[in-house]
Homo-oligomer: 190 residues x 2
DNA sequence: GTCTATACGAAGATAGAC
DNA sequence: GTCTATCTTCGTATAGAC
């Protein structure tokens, strides 16, 4: 594994982490260099497409990391317990960052017009999360239609709650939302 | 009403409209000038605090406009019908803008660190919306605790669904989420 | 691969004339 | 109040040496 690959991976990882706090447009190459320790001179060697390519790859990478966490949670717990776990995970992210860090996929989604490739990566991430959740809900006996709708509500509700939590600098919206979502899933698949 | 006031109001309105598509950081004074037709030279006359002040005032203004629409819907319809109306309104906004426009309050919330005053205005707007919704839910017989939690889920769910809709360039997430939210409110207050 | 230097544009903000 | 001109900073991106 050549060091070159390491630098590239580190830049992607750093970009994704910085997107959570500063957004895509708000994260400069300088920020990524400083955070990753990668060398300045090789940016366009690794990312020929410039910032658009880095943004898209970082968004895709972040989407896959979050997907893996979601799949793990659903493999070990049932859906309501997995939702409670998401509550805990996002609570940690919010509190550790003093409410500066949100979801990098949301950042890429709301700046879609400026970085279309990153937006498309965000759309794909959202779709995969919904698919995984809907599958778990179907396994609980829900119809495909209902499973898809509740999966959409879970993803949208948690993402929206993270936005509210950042604005209000409080994890209360997140706890309220995940609590309701857990109750709803219990009720719908009872 | 002197023309000066008109120019100031127009700049605030234009800024809020542009925030929906480009975010706070992505909207420059040049953009606001071009959109509002306001004179260049008087920016710092009207907004002594520069862009931070314009961003905060535009966010506050947008929050109040949306609040008024929400209050109107709740005054005329019951909660599930009001949620259906929000679905229609946001569908129009998304489709008319070819999925470029989202919610300006979300834009201010996710760029919180760069514009703290705008973020605080976003937090206040979210809190007011939740208050109004929770009041309507209490009127349907829900306990204050439950009303607050469902109100949080409605706000977070719809805001999250708008983010998903922009990324996927489809109103389907919004329809699914508002459908589930309407069902949930019916069930919870039956 | 990585460096330095630089081109080029756009942003926010200020100064001073009118 | 509004204009024009300008300062400063910062961003992406490129060129060419090593």
């Amino acid at each position: 594994m050549p060091r070159q690959t390491d630098a590239r991976e580190r830049m992607i990882r750093s970009a994704a982490l910085l997107f959570r706090e500063r957004g895509v447009d708000g994260t400069s190459f300088n920020d990524v260099i400083a955070h990753s320790g990668a060398p300045r001179g090789s940016i366009y060697h690794h990312f020929e497409g410039g910032k658009a390519q880095l943004a898209a790859e970082a968004t895709q990478w972040a989407g896959e990391v979050i997907l893996a966490g979601l799949a793990d949670a659903l493999a070990e717990d049932d859906v309501p317990a997995a939702i409670a776990r998401l509550d805990e995970q996002w609570t940690r992210t919010l509190e550790r960052s003093d409410f500066r860090a949100g979801c990098p996929i949301v950042a890429a989604a709301v700046e879609g017009d400026r970085e279309p490739a990153a937006r498309d990566a965000a759309a794909a991430a959202f779709a995969r999360w919904q698919d995984v959740l809907a599958g778990a809900l179907r396994a609980r006996g829900l119809t495909p239609e209902r499973a898809s709708s509740i999966a959409a509500l879970v993803v949208a509700g948690i993402e929206g709650a993270i936005v509210l939590a950042r604005a209000q600098r409080s994890t209360e919206p997140l706890h309220r939302v995940t609590g309701e979502l857990g109750r709803l899933v219990e009720l719908a698949s009872a």
